[in-house]
């Protein structure tokens, strides 16, 4: 059974593409045949994060318009077996997508025995975002610990409940997961950021993971490598934990507390 998971947030710049890349890579690493689709038509980014920008020939819009085959369009990842990237078109806009066209693409992927389809949503609540979430079985709502991000996430949760295919067909609702990104426990302690408890209380959906703010996220983006592959970094480990929870394993949350300062740091910090 193929599972379709949308990574969405409403707000821009909170880490949807970073998350999509790491979740897809993590699932593939555990042996699941996985494809990650960039729905941000016109603002293509996923290929950069995945480090395959030089290998894009055809894109999602070509596939939707039946100008290329699935085999021609999918980019096979060079590092991880079972991982494929379906890039967005950079020269078109969101109007190039239609529900029927996207339905055809999802159907083809399901027939190609993919275990997971990860849909990287564009920001906003307009057509592109609605297309990305329409076919979702599950949703990873990416939220930064600040009020505007939380409110936008609340909005997108409402849209998931009313505009997804599952809601329109009166099927079991989309399963929602909360992923808090750019979490900085020290700034939470200072009251500059919302705490995990505040966010969970405001959004009232189960917590999938907390990704700490970490310089390795930017380093990996620049290097075209999903941060989950940086096993030394806290962010990479946190994404790995999130994969385990996504697959049903109960794991305690990490990286919630500010690191205790050593004597020297306390004296000179």
């Amino acid at each position: 059974m193929t599972k379709t998971i949308v990574v969405t947030s409403g707000k821009g710049g909170v880490g949807k593409t970073t998350t999509s890349a790491s979740i897809a890579t993590g699932l593939a690493k555990r042996g699941f045949k996985t494809v990650v689709i960039d729905f941000d038509v016109g603002l293509r980014n996923l290929d950069l994060i995945m480090g395959c920008e030089r290998r894009v020939v055809y894109d999602l819009v070509n596939l939707v318009n039946q100008e290329a085959s699935l085999h021609q369009t999918l980019i096979k990842d060079k590092r991880i077996e079972n991982l494929y990237i379906l890039p967005a078109s950079q020269t078109r806009d969101k109007d190039a997508l239609t529900i029927e066209g996207v339905a055809r693409v999802i159907h083809k992927l399901k027939k190609s025995d993919f275990d997971y389809i990860i849909c990287d949503s564009p920001a906003g609540i307009e057509k592109g975002a609605k297309m990305a979430l329409y076919f979702a079985d599950e949703a990873i709502v990416t939220t930064n610990p600040e009020v505007s991000s939380v409110r936008d996430s609340d909005r997108i949760l409402g849209i998931l409940q009313s505009e997804s295919k599952r809601s329109k067909m009166n099927e079991e609702p989309v399963k929602e997961h909360l992923l808090i990104t750019r979490y900085n426990p020290a700034r939470v302690k200072d009251g500059q950021m919302l705490s995990v408890d505040d966010i969970v209380d405001l959004l009232a959906i189960p917590l999938l993971g907390i990704i700490p703010e970490s310089p390795s996220v930017l380093d990996c983006s620049n290097a075209g490598k999903p941060v989950i592959l940086d096993e030394e970094s806290e962010a990479g480990q946190a994404y790995s934990d999130a994969i385990d929870r996504l697959l049903g394993e109960a794991k305690p949350h990490r990286f919630m507390d500010a690191p205790k300062k050593g004597l020297l740091a306390r004296l000179f910090g």
């Binding site: 609540i125 609340d154 949760l157 409402g158």
Partner: protein
């Protein structure tokens, strides 16, 4: 004989918004209507209203019926009927829509138009002409059916940007109401969770409706059009279980 029923004539209770006129100055009516409608244009659009002329009747004031109807329709409201109070100065005849008469006057009218059973009573006692209808007959002739509508029950959180309206009934939310969400009811609102968005009860004018919530963090609460923003809600009531109701036209918030 056919077993299906084509039409049924039944008594029913319906809630309508009433437009009570306190002045006959058309420019004031126009300006205030514009102001009210502007607060919730989508909500008021095509809403049927009862024009309440009772105050003007008391004042024995005059009004240009045609201009009044035009003005109301211009604000996208639909005047359906005019209502007058106990006194009739003939004012209502200038407003060319059907008329209902409220309060004591209505029962007075009933006395003037005896029912069938009253007729038979009169036949039996033709000498008793001063008071032709005994009280007991009135209760027989006036049959009112009360229709109870099931409340609208929402069993998941109401999210930012979502709007829920319980028409002619209570609204029950089993969960939170997010910031930027709006819940509206013609009757009472019950929230089993925090209220962080806007809640408006009694929107068609029912002043005896209330809002109940488990944690008051609302952006706005309103009972029959009397509203308050969070800023004017006392600090000590915030984040606590509360009820909101109208105490003689004054919006009152009390802890539960």
């Amino acid at each position: 004989m056919s077993s299906t029923i084509g039409v049924e004539l039944k008594g029913g209770m319906y809630t309508f918004m009433s437009l009570k006129l306190h002045t006959n100055d058309m420019s004031v009516i126009d300006a205030e209507l514009a102001d009210k409608v502007l607060q919730a244009p989508g909500f008021f659009k095509d809403t049927p209203v009862v024009i309440d002329l009772s105050v003007l009747e008391e004042q024995e004031a005059d009004i240009d019926g045609k201009a009044l109807l035009e003005c109301i329709r211009r604000h996208k409201l639909v005047p359906i009927v005019a209502s007058i109070g106990d006194r009739s100065s003939g004012l209502a005849s200038s407003v060319a829509i059907p008329l209902i008469e409220s309060g004591a006057r209505r029962s007075a009218l009933s006395r003037e138009e005896p029912s069938q059973s009253a007729d038979s009573a009169r036949k039996e006692a033709p000498s008793n002409t001063q008071n032709p209808i005994p009280d007991v007959d009135l209760s027989v002739s006036r049959e009112v059916e009360y229709v109870v509508k099931a409340p609208l029950l929402i069993d998941k959180p109401v999210r930012s940007g979502q709007q829920v309206y319980a028409r002619d009934t209570d609204l029950i939310v089993m969960g939170q109401v997010g910031p930027g969400a709006e819940i509206i009811a013609d009757n009472n609102i019950h929230i089993y969770g925090p209220l962080r968005g806007r809640a408006l009860c009694g929107v068609s004018g029912n002043t005896s409706t209330r809002i109940f919530c488990q944690s008051l963090e609302a952006e706005l609460v309103s009972v029959a059009g009397n509203y308050r923003m969070l800023e004017t809600i006392p600090e000590e009531l915030r984040g606590k279980p509360a009820q909101i109701w109208l105490d003689k036209d004054r919006l009152t918030i009390e802890p539960l």
